[in-house]
């Protein structure tokens, strides 16, 4: 076994750089593994991962509830501003309160509904590529990937003119609390400042929208609040969640997918020659190196998973990227094959918490990849470049992706 597996070190530099080998090693040896360092179970096999994700009766997503129990009174006070908002995020809620919010918001995010944003996304991609095609080089994360999801999220909440740089800054601050910079000693303070700033920014917008309703997401939430279906805290929490969660993951998907295609020039050429493969290609890029490596659940009662007894209250790291390379589910799993079908990957999770923005992310990624393969040659990494990922158990996030290419 790899040293990092033996040390249970999910943040070891070699694991952050190449999580797939780590998961592979673990899956081959122990599909349900107690990680002493993380103090929870780590699951890397497709069957186990899918079984847990589709079973909200036995596995809870109530992260705030479980966290609250672990904290001292003083710690709880310190992070009160975070708790006040995050406990209303539907990603951290179980049925029935999850169900009400999900069914309400789902209609804005269906495969059909997101099509209204496609022309806008296509234009953003075109504009971004116009700027770089003659130059023959770009930095994929900031020159292309960043602007797409951010623009769509702002459009969705009906506030296209919000200050993007500020939103990014506050979102990063909130992110510190969850995954990035787990070693940052001020992480709670930083996250509290970020969330307070974001809330102060959004509340006047909600108040204004209450007086002047439109067809945007905030207006939909307010109408549901006024009909007594949800509370004001749900409205506010959901706005923060969408702004925070709506841009980073899709940005990373576009960067990771570009890199995967670069590393498989035959697949880049295939997509260039057969643009009708774009939907299948996006599914495969999601499977091959998606932007969310794992998600967490808590056992609601003692339960056997494979041959292991998981105790009530134990937490489980459900490795989506591990499941996505399980050879029992995907033949030749380490091969990128943009014609792969069927391809029931778990990149957006499965079950009741399957990513609300999945169709939006798919559409945005389709436009980004289709735009690129049409107009530029398969990019290469410059000789002096190296790939640097944010140290995170959850996110697969490149700090940047500088590439060179020529115009087609």
């Amino acid at each position: 076994m790899q040293a990092s597996v033996l040390k249970d070190d999910l943040m070891a530099p070699e694991v952050v750089a190449d999580p797939h080998s780590y998961y592979h090693n673990l899956r081959e040896n122990e599909r349900v593994h107690w990680n002493q360092r993380w103090k929870g179970w780590v699951l890397t096999g497709y069957k186990e991962v899918v079984d847990i994700l589709r079973d909200p009766d036995h596995f809870s997503s109530d992260r705030m509830g479980y966290l609250e129990n672990e904290l001292t009174e003083q710690e709880r006070e310190e992070i009160a501003p975070i708790f006040k908002v995050l406990k209303y995020w539907m990603v951290f809620r179980d049925p029935p309160s999850h169900t009400v919010l999900r069914m309400l918001l789902n209609k804005l995010f269906t495969p059909t509904a997101v099509e209204r944003y496609r022309p806008m996304v296509r234009k953003i991609v075109q504009k971004a590529l116009d700027k770089v095609v003659d130059r023959g080089k770009m930095e994929v994360v900031h020159d292309l990937a960043y602007d797409i999801p951010m623009s769509v999220v702002l459009e969705l909440i009906g506030a296209p003119d919000l200050d993007r740089d500020k939103i990014k800054e506050w979102s990063e601050a909130i992110g510190v609390f969850f995954f990035i910079k787990a070693d940052e000693p001020r992480r709670r303070e930083i996250a509290c400042e970020g969330i307070t700033a974001l809330v102060n920014y959004i509340e006047p917008i909600i108040a204004h929208r209450r007086e002047h309703p439109g067809t945007d997401m905030i207006s939909l939430l307010i109408a549901a609040e006024e009909a007594g279906q949800i509370t004001y805290n749900d409205v506010l929490g959901t706005c923060v969640l969408l702004i925070f969660g709506g841009h980073e993951t899709t940005m990373n998907l576009i960067a990771n997918g570009t890199l995967a295609l670069m590393q498989h020039p035959d697949q880049w050429t295939l997509l260039h020659n057969k643009p009708e493969l774009i939907k299948k290609a996006v599914e495969e890029l999601l499977r091959y190196d998606g932007s969310v490596k794992s998600t967490v659940r808590w056992a609601k009662e003692d339960i056997m998973i494979a041959d292991k007894l998981v105790k009530k209250g134990d937490r489980l790291l459900v490795c989506l990227s591990g499941a996505n390379r399980d050879p029992l589910q995907f033949p030749d799993p380490d091969k990128l094959d943009i014609t792969r079908d069927p391809n029931l990957h778990v990149a957006f999770a499965h079950g009741i918490h399957v990513c609300l923005g999945a169709s939006l992310a798919r559409m945005e990624a389709e436009e980004a990849f289709a735009g690129m393969v049409k107009r530029i040659s398969c990019p290469k990494l410059p000789e002096d470049a190296y790939l640097n990922y944010y140290p995170s158990v959850v996110h697969r996030a490149l700090k940047n992706l500088p590439v060179t290419f020529h115009k087609l």
Partner: protein
């Protein structure tokens, strides 16, 4: 309109339970926690299409069983 045929594509269904939430008389979860059709005639064609549209995976197919016309998903949404 004739009889409506409702099918779930098990290579697409991820068990979101949304269809069960919207039309519990038509859909239920099976032992694999995927959706299964119990009574296609327990809803109107319009309700069925509206519910199929809510599926994040486009896993539900609605057809007119007499004419074979596919009411959902539309061709542009097919993988």
């Amino acid at each position: 309109m004739g009889n409506i045929k409702v099918t779930v594509n098990y290579n697409r269904c991820v068990g979101s339970r949304l269809c069960v939430g919207f039309l519990p008389a038509v859909f239920e979860m099976n032992k694999d926690s995927q959706s299964s059709v119990i009574r296609a005639d327990a809803a109107t064609a319009t309700e069925l299409v509206q519910t199929a549209e809510q599926c994040p995976q486009c896993a539900i197919r609605i057809e007119d069983s007499e004419t074979g016309e596919v009411l959902f998903p539309t061709a542009d949404l097919e993988l």
